[in-house]
């Protein structure tokens, strides 16, 4: 009598401790090895684009916050930049410097959540608590500036809603001084841990040509060996005035482009962001942050596509205006939406436990995928 095997379909449903949000993965298994993964999204579709057609241009900013809720400053930054280029507004230099400082602090906060939850998925719970402890310091800095911990409504079209708190610069310098030894602690705990390296090295390798064809950008593309960062290749705001490096994956513990590379790139990026913040605080000029905000925002007819470097990749805003007070179309090109497409390719041939490791390393946020 011959043995026969059947393919089994396993559902990693919308409620799962490791799926980083409401994502449903349908796994087709041959024993423990995966033959196909089908992601189902749309469980958090909150109709952002329909709302933006009904609101006026400044009223869209709180809605852009809530799409990628871990990097809200960058969402607002991208939208404000797109509108300023469409209308031809020049913002004062102080505004540009403050936007860069807020953006880089937000990048550190977002990477801390990504790394903390990745460690928790793999099984290490302590780095999660350490990362959130450091994140509370950054959220305190945001809170004294604009009053909110997570969703800010701070960067407006043409400027900012209010100037920095008088203690901000002193507290930021203290934070930078305290954070550098904490980064070393995180490396000792997690990055060079033998079990972590066993679980993540050589798993889920992404070749650079596949990555570009699928449209993957950001830390995931840089981990595959390609040096592409919008802050240097398509510069915006005042990033050209700072001295910083772009970390690229080097296959230190396995192949280039595996999960460990994608994880370690984010740790290196946090170090580079600290350098940018230090330089920006030293160079910040004086000025009035609300002077360039127009009274009524009525752009000319036309369309524009602008992109910024989100902590997750290239965040693009495509805005079509028909000359009235409400936008005709606002389309957001979310980096996590594009990265989710390449996920089935990465998982083929690995086991079920590796799906969790790969999903954590590409760092998605469901609010951005579903908008």
């Amino acid at each position: 009598m011959a043995l026969k095997t059947e393919e089994m379909v396993l559902n990693m449903g919308p409620q799962h401790p490791s799926t980083h949000g409401v994502l449903r993965l349908e796994l087709k298994l041959d024993g423990e090895i995966i033959s196909d993964v089908i992601p189902h999204i749309g469980y958090l579709h909150r109709c952002f684009e329909k709302h933006s057609e009904a609101m006026t241009y400044p009223q869209v900013i709180p809605y852009t916050d809530r799409m990628d809720y871990l990097a809200s400053m960058y969402n607002e930054f991208g939208y404000a930049l797109a509108m300023e280029r469409l209308m031809g507004i020049e913002v004062p230099e102080r505004v540009e410097y403050i936007r860069v400082i807020m953006g880089e602090l937000q990048r550190i906060a977002s990477h801390l959540v990504a790394l903390g939850t990745y460690g928790a998925d793999i099984g290490a719970f302590t780095p999660f608590l350490f990362c959130f402890r450091d994140r509370e310091r950054i959220l305190h800095l945001f809170e004294i500036t604009c009053g909110a911990r997570l969703l800010y409504n701070y960067i407006w079209i043409g400027g900012l809603s209010n100037d920095l708190h008088p203690d901000f610069i002193r507290l930021t310098k203290e934070f930078i001084k305290d954070f550098k030894p904490n980064l070393k602690e995180l490396n000792d705990l997690l990055s060079y841990n033998a079990i972590f390296i066993e679980r993540t090295a050589n798993v889920g390798v992404l070749p650079p040509d596949t990555a570009i064809n699928y449209g993957v950008t950001g830390p995931n593309l840089r981990a595959s060996g390609m040096k592409w960062d919008l802050r240097k290749d398509d510069p915006y705001s005042v990033y050209h005035k700072f001295n910083y490096e772009i970390p690229v994956g080097s296959g230190a513990k396995g192949k280039i482009g595996d999960c460990w590379d994608r994880y370690f790139i984010r740790v290196r990026e946090m170090e580079e962001s600290l350098k940018i913040i230090e330089q920006a605080i030293d160079q910040i000029p004086d000025g009035d942050v609300t002077s360039a905000i127009p009274k009524r925002i009525k752009p000319p007819e036309g369309q524009i596509y602008t992109r910024v470097e989100n902590p997750r990749g290239e965040l693009g805003y495509f805005i079509i205006s028909d000359g009235s007070l409400n936008p005709a179309r606002v389309k957001v090109r979310a980096p996590s939406f594009v990265t989710m497409q390449v996920f089935p390719e990465l998982c083929k041939g690995w086991m079920v436990a590796d799906v969790v490791a790969i999903l954590g390393s590409i760092d998605i946020v469901l609010g951005e995928i579903d908008r």
């Binding site: 579709h45 064809n213 449209g215 007819e301 369309q303 524009i304 596509y305 495509f318």
Partner: protein, 176 residues
């Protein structure tokens, strides 16, 4: 690095009538209007030609131009008849560092556009989303079904300008 006019002339030589015109009057970027059913061949040429090398599709979005006439249907709601739905493509070359914007326009009553998934796999989910939100059918797409709305949603295409909310969905009241 090439400008939009140079790329337009290269494409016009090769494809003739499929490349309709280069519009650069309104701010901020110029775009090239192309025929909807030829976009697949044009995209493979754009990706492989050694002077152009557009290896990355940044964005693909559906747009409701809402330039038809507004009539009232049998329930008294206002719907739009005639006019266009369009699809915009934003392309980029990571090696030669230039960008391009393409636009195609189709009828609102029977929207059909050729798919570009052969050239860039990135377009797969973007086209599914354009189908889900606007009802644009992409010919030869490997798997065209709804992506953000529930799979059994039959109350229309939400981002069209004349979309009406249903009252109930599976026993839950939808409006406020």
């Amino acid at each position: 690095m090439k400008t939009a006019e140079e790329i337009f002339s290269i494409l016009k030589e090769k494809f003739g009538d499929s490349i309709i015109e280069l519009k650069s009057d309104k701010p901020v970027e110029p775009f090239i209007l192309t025929a909807p059913l030829e976009v697949d061949k044009i995209s493979i040429y754009l990706r492989d030609n050694s002077e152009l090398l557009f290896d990355s599709l940044m964005n693909l979005s559906g747009v409701d131009d809402a330039n038809g006439e507004k009539v009232k249907d049998e329930n008294g709601n206002e719907i739009i008849k005639g006019g266009n739905l369009s699809v915009w493509y934003h392309l980029e070359s990571t090696k030669l560092k230039h960008k391009l914007t393409l636009k195609v326009s189709t009828d609102r009553e029977k929207p059909e556009v050729a798919t570009v998934t052969e050239a860039w796999k990135c377009a797969d989910w973007h086209e599914r989303e354009a189908y889900d939100m606007y009802g644009i059918i992409f010919l030869n797409h490997p798997d065209l079904r709804r992506i953000l709305m529930p799979y059994d949603w039959e109350h229309g295409y939400p981002l069209r300008k004349d979309y009406q909310n249903p009252e109930f969905y599976q026993g839950m009241k939808v409006p406020y």
